[in-house]
Point group: C2
Chain length 378, copies 2
């Protein structure tokens, strides 16, 4: 029985992770959950699982304790996520948080020698160097849940990472892929949230439309697989059938395909090396046509900008991520236009100087500063 | 240093295997070669490699012995191939023969505990049950060189064969894929030999146009991976970029892609588990479009017929293979039309009753009988 600590239990990945845990009740149990404010959903979860620990905003403590007095409650405001990540070694941490708030608990879990199943991109985007450093002195495995990285991990099964010539991930192009750059001026929040292939959270759906999501995924791949940026590539692939591909140095090329169903990478990360039967539909014969093309970097101008920042590394990447996170939020709140996401990010990057000596404190402080700076513009 | 015994050294696969051996002279050496009549090519090979054993038609013995008196010569007519296969254990047998003549040396090598790198389809097509039986009491590995099976083997790296839901191989559709069935009446040998994607031997190029090649490959996959026919599928894929695909029971799907270059599966089979760097070109971003569709079994009527025979098993499969081999030869000699290949195969299948108790002797005798029977029709 694998005991799961699920951070971000009420988001898109969190909900699907719960589906998997409930589908495989013999193999998995839920030991801890976190959510910010979705009290109703958390109470439902607690009614179905024997959860030992809960972390939420402090104001929900009384509600939770009244209904489940035996459950330990840790306030988010008092490092609740890190407290959960720091407990007993026979659990695994499934980090489905959104945003840089995901970094500290991942770090803590790795330091504790706990395996981390990672759906939180920002852990590696803003804290990649710290995570790699922590992994070097830890027995814990960092297992990706992001579909592209889970795809690459499957392609790498039974192979040596040193034999890799190139890692390739695919990009759907997002909600506005059929629009020219000039047509992006007046697109609405509602249109932006209609992703053609995947049903995902709001933030990542907007990041997909700007192609910033692919920048983050390239950074993730860089730190996850310890692979230089020159060997990582993203390719436009409208159908989202082929998620990732590995070219080996002997001419063999392996690709991962499948339906756009996040439960597959979630189960893959949770199950370990022994596959657990999970019926899904896939039929190569009826796929029809798959398209591949290079990413048009004039159309997706944030892609080149983001990659350049990624290659510089350091606090500049934190600036990129924080400015993007706030700008996307402002767009979702209808306070800025779609194209202003990019201009806000550029303003932030121009305002701050880079620093390649990262510490967790420095990252978190800079993250707060950049957010405040970008919010000030509107 | 891996010592290679190369049977069928002057055919398409044989030549490319020699290229690989010469490219990786530190890793591989050529210990034995066979060819029927290409004396000039064999003398060239002997001038470049320190070969210990040669097998050819008896009439070439003097020529070879005069030029290379230190080389041991074994006549094909006197079981020369089996003699080579039967020698010392520190060699591996690369079987690049064409036709059922490839079965006895494969069997002998497996009984001797020698690894066999198999490009000879007929070994498994007509002798599958014998090969599986021999493998059960032998330490030898049977490693496919056929591109589709090499693809499946790569997809299976690091995974358990019991977790496989389905094996899928692709078919290009062959030289006449853009013609309707009615247009096949008067196609020529010359047209038939123009394969759109692969440069291969004549026999397999015709088998590709009739889709019989895919039947043989499904039979091969059945015996190679010990997989029921219900779990093996072929899909039409014009570009020949995706060669094989494995669907696992946990929803993960891995595919093997790459250029149409047989040196990749040849090297993959020869190198063992450690990959050897071999620069090849592959670029997902510039692939453009890949098409997939079910095989039209009315258009490719031999496909369903062949599969039905495969599922019956036994001597009927030998009939299918031998009748096809002679019919293709007759077509190449311009003695029958393209569509008569199918009618000759049907005649042979109707003429013989099935027998599921196979022995090597029974197979070889039946093979000779069917060939004579089919040849009698023209």
């Amino acid at each position: 029985m694998k005991k799961i600590q699920l951070l971000g239990a009420t988001g898109s990945i969190g909900k699907q992770a719960l589906e998997i845990i409930e589908e495989f009740r013999e193999q998995f149990s839920l030991q801890a959950v976190s959510a910010r404010n979705s009290v109703k959903t958390v109470l439902e979860i607690l009614s179905r699982h024997e959860v030992e620990m809960v972390s939420m905003a402090k104001k929900h403590e009384e509600t939770i304790k009244r209904a489940y007095p035996e459950v330990a409650f840790y306030a988010l405001e008092e490092d609740g996520l890190e407290t959960i990540a720091n407990t007993e070694n026979d659990t695994v941490l499934l980090n489905a948080l959104v945003g840089s708030v995901g970094l500290p608990p991942t770090l803590r879990a790795i330091e504790r020698g706990k395996d981390v199943l990672l759906a939180n991109k920002e852990t590696l985007v803003v804290g990649g160097p710290l995570i790699r450093e922590a992994l070097e002195t830890s027995n814990s495995s960092l297992i990706p849940i992001d579909s592209e990285h889970a795809a690459l991990r499957e392609c790498l099964r039974g192979s040596d990472i040193d034999d890799v010539e190139r890692l390739v991930i695919t990009a759907s192009g997002g909600s506005f892929r059929n629009l020219a750059k000039k047509d992006l001026e007046n697109v609405t929040q509602e249109d932006a949230l209609k992703h053609p292939n995947w049903s995902m959270g709001a933030k990542i759906t907007i990041d997909s439309a700007t192609m910033m999501n692919k920048v983050f995924e390239i950074i993730e791949a860089h730190y996850l697989f310890d692979m230089p940026y020159e060997k990582i590539e993203a390719v436009l692939h409208k159908e989202s059938v082929l998620h990732g591909l590995v070219q080996f140095n002997d001419g063999n090329v392996l690709a991962h395909l499948g339906p756009s169903d996040m439960r597959i990478p979630i189960l893959s990360a949770m199950q370990g090396s022994k596959r657990m039967p999970f019926p899904t539909l896939f039929d190569l014969a009826t796929l029809g046509t798959l398209h591949f093309e290079p990413i048009d970097t004039e159309r997706y101008s944030l892609f080149d900008l983001g990659l350049a920042v990624a290659k510089q590394g350091g606090l500049h990447v934190v600036t990129l991520n924080a400015a993007n996170e706030v700008a996307v939020q402002l767009f979702l709140e209808e306070k800025i236009s779609f194209l202003e996401i990019e201009s806000l990010i550029k303003k932030a990057l121009n305002h701050y100087t880079n620093d390649n000596h990262l510490t967790l404190e420095k990252i978190l402080e800079h993250d707060r500063n950049v957010r405040a700076y970008v919010r000030n513009f509107v």
